[in-house]
């Protein structure tokens, strides 16, 4: 599907769905935004112009991503677009849906990527974007498993739909770690083994200090693993913390 992606990239399983889009230009811009971030599967649900893909403005704005635009599938209903999708994110700026499983984009992306990483290869995630003026209807939102909100200025939160797609695609690319350049100055992350070694060290210190009952560890390691995974520790930081632990344990 996308030869340029590191294999197996989770991005190949992320679909963008544009519902009832009015302006073909936005579809072209969306195709360009997607391709720059490594997404390639676009589905259009009843665009206002039936020939939106061939539209000259759409083609011009797609720029070097006409392959994504030309490959777009056009369907009649959102149900069709999501027929083989297992996890659909509805994008909305409407505050009234705040209560309904809504998450900020970055958190929603993490959930969706976790879902892909831990499920079978056939599973698909869809990012669903509504009409420029009206967004998604309640019925359309209800077909999705989660609502993603792009944090924005409450005084003016109206993102253009192709800009919203650019941001979503960017967050997915970042979460996939697909194209982040390895510069000299980039932080060198500890390996999973290094972090796990530290966590074991921390656990045994907690047990020896009688802080943790090995018969009833509860969620100690789960919580600590979550914290130190999130922290993306550098090897030197692991070394410092293990040094402190070793010194504290030696002197007891």
């Amino acid at each position: 599907m996308n030869d340029t992606l590191p294999s197996p990239s989770l991005l190949a399983r992320v679909r963008v769905v544009m519902v009832s889009t009015s302006h073909p230009g936005n579809i072209g811009s969306a195709a360009r935004a997607m391709k720059t971030m490594g997404l390639s599967e676009l589905v259009l649900v009843s665009p206002r112009q039936a020939d939106a893909v061939e539209d000259s403005q759409a083609q011009a704005l797609a720029s070097g991503a006409t392959d994504v635009l030309d490959g777009a599938r056009i369907v009649s209903t959102l149900a069709d677009a999501l027929a083989d999708v297992h996890f659909a994110l509805a994008f909305t700026a409407r505050r009234r849906e705040l209560s309904h499983g809504m998450k900020p984009l970055r958190e929603a992306t993490a959930d969706a990527m976790d879902f892909l990483a831990t499920s079978q290869e056939e599973t698909r995630v869809a990012l669903v974007f509504g009409n420029e003026t009206f967004g998604l209807s309640n019925e359309e939102v209800d077909r999705c498993q989660m609502i993603a909100m792009i944090p924005a200025n409450p005084a003016y939160s109206s993102l253009n739909v192709s800009q919203a797609i650019q941001l979503a695609a960017y967050e997915f690319m970042m979460a996939d770690n697909a194209f982040v350049p390895r510069t000299e100055e980039a932080r060198r992350a500890s390996s999973v083994e290094e972090v796990e070694g530290f966590l074991q060290h921390l656990e045994s210190a907690a047990v020896q200090a009688d802080f943790l009952d090995p018969q009833e560890p509860k969620r100690f390691m789960t919580r600590m693993r979550r914290l130190f995974t999130r922290a993306r520790m550098e090897p030197e930081e692991v070394a410092i913390l293990r040094g402190v632990l070793a010194a504290l344990m030696k002197r007891r």
Copy 2:
């Protein structure tokens, strides 16, 4: 400058500079992208159309952000645009400049926000974007303190300039934590005081265990502060780690 921002928001000190922009429409789209993310100061360096701000397409694409567009300042040179700027980020997609203090957008944003947070109120950060076709010249890049690269598909990394501005503005908004909604499910972050309390606890444990020489602390606290700030600890995690430290110290 921007009434809707939490005061004092660092975003009010971030300027967007567009150099030699060819298409007024991109300037309008950029104004809209900026406003949605809480940025409001736009400077245009010799746009191809001198009347780019009044251009009908620019006005139309600015949508509800015509105030940002109309407030744009037009200058002749990048030097003029950066005269009162203390930290300028040059945006480029060119790989050849990889060696020259270049960082991925998210890291560059963190550096720029750190700079703003730790410097005087008068300091300004500028995000500098080049011409649609040619980008920034070497001379223009050399006027900036850092190069920011938006990670992108190596097979097609050509972002539209207003899309690049949308992504940069989003990362600054996210780093400023200005508009991220507080949903029920959102993680509750520890306060600066809670994290600092833990860090002091860690420092005294390290000193008592003879791991850290208080006469020659080197960068111990700097590194630990960086790690545990990056980790965005939850209060329960702070409590667990302080519990382990207390148990280890008590039993010595």
